[in-house]
């Protein structure tokens, strides 16, 4: 009997947490394992499960350090996959961005992984979490990473398209095709779709407020790009000019002209250029921000962090912040001195550090790289 028939005829059910808490789940391009997802969603309110999640994380990080075989990327991937499953909303407290960064940095100079699709995918997922990924694509280009794969050109071109740099996107896709990147059909198809979209593009300053009648559908790719767009917009709206100097001149308007805005939100956020954001309600993206996977940046308020005594059996709130606070409170286990490798930093970070470090990386994804590796 095939597994589907077997499952159908059995009495087993799939838990419904995924549906009940779907707004807390960031879709992944590669899909999710629903049992793990349900487990992670239950863990938000269950101390036992939370503990087991933390244990798992420790074990996976140890596995990275202890790996002896000839594919050292694999334990990193296991860890990344697990973090994605265990922290359904993603977000700044999950440590996902940190793991991406440490993983790519561990192997960037390695010839072994230059053409490895899995390694490229880690870079591409990292890029999706950054406020401006162009520096990452330039880095990959300069260091010849992933350039035999269509995925590289498609992602790079999409990024340029999102900044309205249509000519650059066009050139990138063409370069990929002439380099015979694989799978070539996928690249050709992406190019066709890109051409169709560029025909449909409205003029530069037009902004459509699309009231979408149809029930919205969204896919992992669109959502992820949308997140980085929203991050960029929020950064701008909150008046903090963290964009690099040259980009300020080129991109401010193009952010709002983005016709690639993810359809889940439907509306473009109206720019609050410099003015007090309290005077406008903001677009749906702004009003909905509590439901976004990525928490909005806190602005000038410093919320004093008081260590909260851990009460066993206390009712845990549904926010992921509490989850991390417990990690702060746990007595750190005694490490051997020999364990002091870079990947251990993952284990020792507490919630505040994870968020801070994640924010820094988002703005400057290559900040930890040696300067001789950077393009130009």
């Amino acid at each position: 009997m095939d597994p589907e028939t077997e499952f159908l005829s059995s009495k087993r059910q799939t838990g419904n947490e995924w549906e009940l808490f779907k707004e807390n789940v960031r879709p992944l391009k590669r899909g999710r394992n629903v049992d793990l997802l349900n487990h992670a969603l239950k863990a938000r309110t269950n101390d036992q499960l939370k503990k087991s999640l933390l244990e798992n994380r420790r074990r996976l990080i140890e596995a990275i350090d202890e790996y002896q075989g000839d594919d050292p990327l694999q334990p990193w991937l296991d860890c990344i996959k697990w973090v994605q499953e265990a922290f359904p909303p993603g977000g700044d407290f999950s440590g996902l961005v940190l793991i991406y960064e440490q993983c790519v940095r561990a192997f960037w100079h390695s010839d072994h992984y230059k053409d490895d699709l899995r390694y490229l995918k880690v870079w591409l997922e990292y890029a999706e979490h950054c406020s401006d990924a162009e520096v990452i694509y330039c880095f990959l280009d300069a260091n010849d990473i992933g350039k035999t794969h269509s995925a590289y050109y498609i992602a790079y071109a999409l990024h340029m398209e999102s900044k309205s740099k249509m000519k650059a996107a066009n050139d990138i896709l063409n370069l990929g095709i002439s380099s015979n990147a694989q799978p070539i059909e996928k690249l050709r198809d992406a190019y066709k779709k890109f051409l169709a979209r560029s025909m449909r593009r409205p003029n530069a300053t037009e902004e459509e407020l699309k009231e979408d009648d149809l029930p919205v559908r969204s896919f992992g790719t669109v959502l992820a790009r949308g997140e980085s767009q929203r991050q960029a917009i929020k950064t701008f709206e909150l008046g903090r000019n963290k964009l690099k100097q040259d980009q300020v001149h080129r991109t401010p308007l193009s952010i709002y002209n983005d016709t690639n805005m993810d359809v889940t939100r439907g509306h473009h956020s109206k720019p609050n250029t410099g003015s007090n954001s309290w005077h406008t309600l903001g677009g749906r993206a702004e009003r909905n921000k509590e439901n976004d996977a990525m928490p909005a940046k806190w602005t000038s308020h410093k919320i004093p962090q008081r260590p909260v005594p851990r009460i066993v059996g206390a009712v845990a709130s549904a926010q992921i912040e509490v989850f991390v606070d417990e990690e702060c409170e746990e007595k750190p286990k005694v490490h051997d001195e020999k364990d002091r490798t870079s990947s251990l930093q993952l284990r020792e970070l507490d919630g505040r550090n994870i968020k801070k470090e994640t924010e820094l990386l988002r703005e400057n994804p290559l900040r930890n790289f040696p300067s001789n590796s950077l393009p130009r």
Binding site: L8, V34, L117, T221
Partner: protein, 200 residues
């Protein structure tokens, strides 16, 4: 304990077959839309099951003929999504059907509130739309196929061809809600490929 009487409606075999057949049509369209198999422009919005539902523009939205359902010979309907380029099966939407054989043989009817059936179907439709929560992104052109599992004594109509089941190896599987007209009970399951990082 207070008991609540719900107004029940009479369900006949014919009526139930119509409900189930219609359900398949709407479910298929919902899958085609939500999974991006056809472009958005191909769909028009209609109201059904108390939800905004979508149908493709062409009229022929009957996926499976009612005759098999009325004869109680339809066991399962599977909607398969495959990569257009490689024909690899990426997703399978399984709808298994249990038919009350008493009704088929003796022509009796059953009772159930129409509203309740509609609510059950609505729950399934909502789940189909929400399944992007866990389904892998289909970022390549895909094709859609319908497989019907029937009793072996059913002759194959000329519009159908015999086929292999187009299974997914080592699938991830999620059981969704079911609905029951008291004559036909439909269970739903979606299976999809485990996505490995080294896949194109």
């Amino acid at each position: 304990m207070a008991s609540r009487t719900v107004a029940k409606d009479i369900i006949t075999l014919r009526g139930s077959a119509a409900i189930v057949s219609e359900f398949f049509g709407y479910a298929a369209n919902s899958i085609l839309y939500n999974r991006g198999v056809y472009p958005e422009e191909s769909f028009a919005k209609v109201k059904k099951y108390g939800l905004p539902m979508l149908l493709t523009q062409d009229e022929e939205n009957e996926i499976v003929g009612k005759e098999w359902l009325e004869a109680g010979k339809l066991q399962r309907v599977v909607m398969v999504i495959m990569s257009k380029a490689t024909k690899e099966v990426l997703e399978r939407w399984n709808f298994s059907i249990e038919t009350d054989s008493d009704v088929v043989e003796k022509g009796v009817s059953r009772e159930k509130s129409d509203r309740e059936i509609m609510r059950e179907i609505q729950a399934i439709m909502r789940q189909i739309a929400s399944s992007i929560t866990y389904l892998p992104c289909l970022d390549e052109p895909c094709v859609f196929d319908v497989l019907a599992y029937t009793d072996t004594d059913v002759p194959v109509p000329f519009t159908w061809i015999e086929s292999d089941p187009k299974l997914i190896a080592n699938p991830q599987m999620v059981k969704l809600h079911s609905f029951d007209t008291k004559i036909h009970k439909v269970d739903t399951l979606v299976s999809y490929k485990n996505d490995e990082w080294d896949e194109q």
